[in-house]
């Protein structure tokens, strides 16, 4: 397959990775340790290296639980699937195993180099790796069948290098690093770009945390900046708190189920279904519609050691989620949206 049939941006091949419009580094690992780690993988292989040096990320990379949401995308052999923000390939690898032609795009070259090794180890050759800024890459019109955006949308408004260990809950050194563009507009622009590239009938799989997860009200820190009680606040208060505590704007915008649905619809998609993932979209035990929430069994309480908390958590989950079906407070959201006929009737 010729990549120029799908990617409109100029690409240059550097060894086995295609390089597109340059983006900034984003990884859980710092730049230097990432480079050192890559050298180790040559010796031990990817799986053993991760197990030895970063066991805390083993499940993030290899756990089969991460790919459960792909059932909703129903991957079929020979479909062209874009994994936007693939990172270490938690979903790219399963998609490739299912026989799809996978185009994995990420702006961190080191992540793609690791992913490339994973693909080689598994002898998967139905893949193309592109290192590019997700905001700048352009697609050919109606060129691919499916798109995956897994835990990426909230990071789209970030403009500069992120080494997560130096970023998460830490003050950033450059307070002027963010432009004044509205994060929602940037996210919508990104989704519109994917919409443009999707074939008619093509599907988007989008996974993100819910802004109104019940536990945020009980003091669970925001998963992107490690600040408590910020996630569900109005945007201007989020900004004020973030500027005081972290010296930066709050740009990792999350959404309520309806806000997210509207965002995706505003990007052009006309058949949007919101699913609710429990306990988290990254490793969901349940992905349910609002009507199906009676199928849920309480889940988070089991991880609580304090017996009083256990009982309270159990009751909250049983009552709020299972019986009252208050999906508004669910932990994570998975959206499956279809690109209908642009001239058809909006559903």
């Amino acid at each position: 397959m010729d990549l120029s049939e799908i990617i409109a941006s100029d690409l240059e091949k550097d060894k086995e990775i295609w390089i597109g419009p340059k983006g900034n580094y984003w990884s859980n690992l710092d730049i230097e340790e990432n480079k050192k780690f890559l050298l180790e993988t040559d010796v031990l292989g990817v799986e053993e290296s991760v197990r030895k040096y970063y066991p805390e990320y083993f499940d993030v990379i290899f756990s089969p639980k991460r790919a459960a949401g792909l059932l909703f995308l129903d991957p079929m052999p020979n479909e062209i699937v874009i994994d936007a923000g693939c990172m270490w390939g938690a979903l790219s690898v399963p998609l490739a195993r299912a026989g799809c032609t996978v185009i994995s795009i990420d702006q961190t070259l080191e992540s793609l180099l690791l992913l490339n090794k994973r693909f080689k180890e598994e002898k998967l050759n139905n893949v193309h790796l592109i290192c590019s800024d997700l905001k700048k890459i352009k697609f050919q019109k109606e060129s691919f069948d499916k798109a995956v955006v897994n835990g990426v949308l909230e990071w789209i408004p970030e403009m500069e290098t992120i080494e997560l260990k130096k970023f998460f809950g830490k003050k950033t050194l450059s307070p002027t690093r963010y432009n004044s563009q509205n994060p929602r507009d940037m996210q919508q622009e990104f989704l519109k770009n994917l919409y443009f590239g999707l074939k008619t009938g093509g599907k988007l799989y989008l996974a993100i945390e819910n802004r109104y997860d019940l536990l945020y009200f009980f003091g669970l820190p925001d998963p992107h900046c490690d600040v408590k009680f910020i996630t569900f606040m109005p945007r201007f208060i989020q900004n004020t708190i973030s500027k005081i505590l972290l010296k930066r704007r709050y740009v990792n915008w999350l959404y309520s189920p309806n806000e997210l649905k509207k965002l995706v619809k505003d990007a052009g998609f006309n058949d949007v279904i919101v699913y609710y993932a429990f306990p988290h979209y990254q490793h969901p035990d349940y992905v349910l519609t609002k009507d199906g929430m009676h199928l849920l069994r309480p889940f988070r309480y089991a991880n609580t050691s304090n017996p009083i908390k256990r009982v309270v958590m159990y009751c909250i989950e049983e009552v709020i989620y299972r019986r009252m079906k208050l999906s508004f407070f669910s932990p994570s959201l998975i959206v499956v949206a279809q690109k209908g006929d642009p001239n058809g009737i909006d559903k």
Partner: protein, 242 residues
């Protein structure tokens, strides 16, 4: 669609209900991207087809299986109305169901059929109408070539274990019913060399001898995943009330 299970029981398969527009489950879809999960799904479709033949129905009607180069597999099976058994209930309430399960097992697998077994013959995998079994689900350990005692003993002792876990005690009445069930199973299915005074240890020994077959899945069976003290304690009650 509703995803209801993700890599449960140390496996790597996903299970989802495919629902009708009225949100009623019409099919069960299982999929896996991992070798172990694909093996389970293959086993399951084989088991279901064997089961269909035994029941005299069309084997193609019990499910469809698709795979891609042994890296991805998807199984779609019809949803069966009814309620699955609940091993957490008191032994007395489950007694009739287990008696029926033993009879059903005998009729299905036959006294002399040593080749196949269900492999996860738990009340949760039986669809009941009142106390009668309507359908068996979860055939992922079919063809694992387990000793025949394992299925029925696991079914009985699972209920025993959940009752034991509630108070760490078993009553004289519990033991009387359990012994009755074990004797029935032994008579019906011919477990001649089984010591019914130490059934928990017997089951543990069977599982232990088949660790290679179960792999990581061994922990999903309550009596093989639990501490050895619990097994000894259960057997203590069997001996105490013998």
């Amino acid at each position: 669609m509703e995803l209801i299970s993700n890599c449960a029981h140390f496996g790597s398969t996903y299970t989802a209900f495919v629902t009708s527009p009225e949100n009623m489950p019409v099919r069960v879809m299982k999929a896996s991207f991992e070798k172990e999960g694909i093996k389970s799904l293959k086993n399951e479709i084989r088991g279901l087809r064997w089961y269909a033949v035994k029941l005299g129905i069309d084997p193609d009607s019990v499910g469809s299986y698709h795979s891609f180069e042994n890296r991805y597999a998807k199984l779609s099976i019809p949803f069966h109305e009814g309620s699955c058994g609940n091993p957490y209930l008191p032994i007395k309430q489950n007694y009739n169901k287990i008696v029926n399960a033993i009879q059903y097992y005998k009729n299905l697998f036959g006294k002399d059929d040593y080749i196949f077994s269900h492999g996860d013959y738990s009340l949760v995998n039986m669809v009941f109408a009142k106390d009668e079994i309507q359908w068996l689900i979860d055939w992922e350990h079919f063809n694992d070539k387990l000793p025949r005692e394992f299925d029925v003993m696991n079914c009985i002792l699972e209920v025993c274990y959940y009752n034991f876990m509630r108070t760490k005690q078993l009553t004289r009445e519990d033991i009387r019913l359990l012994k009755k069930l074990l004797t029935l199973a032994s008579d019906e299915l011919g477990f001649c060399d089984m010591n019914l005074n130490t059934p928990a240890k017997e089951l543990y020994a069977i599982s232990d001898a088949n660790r290679g077959v179960f792999g990581t899945q061994i922990k999903k069976y309550v009596l093989t995943g639990c501490p050895i003290e619990d097994i000894e304690r259960i057997d203590y009650f069997f001996q105490k009330f013998s």
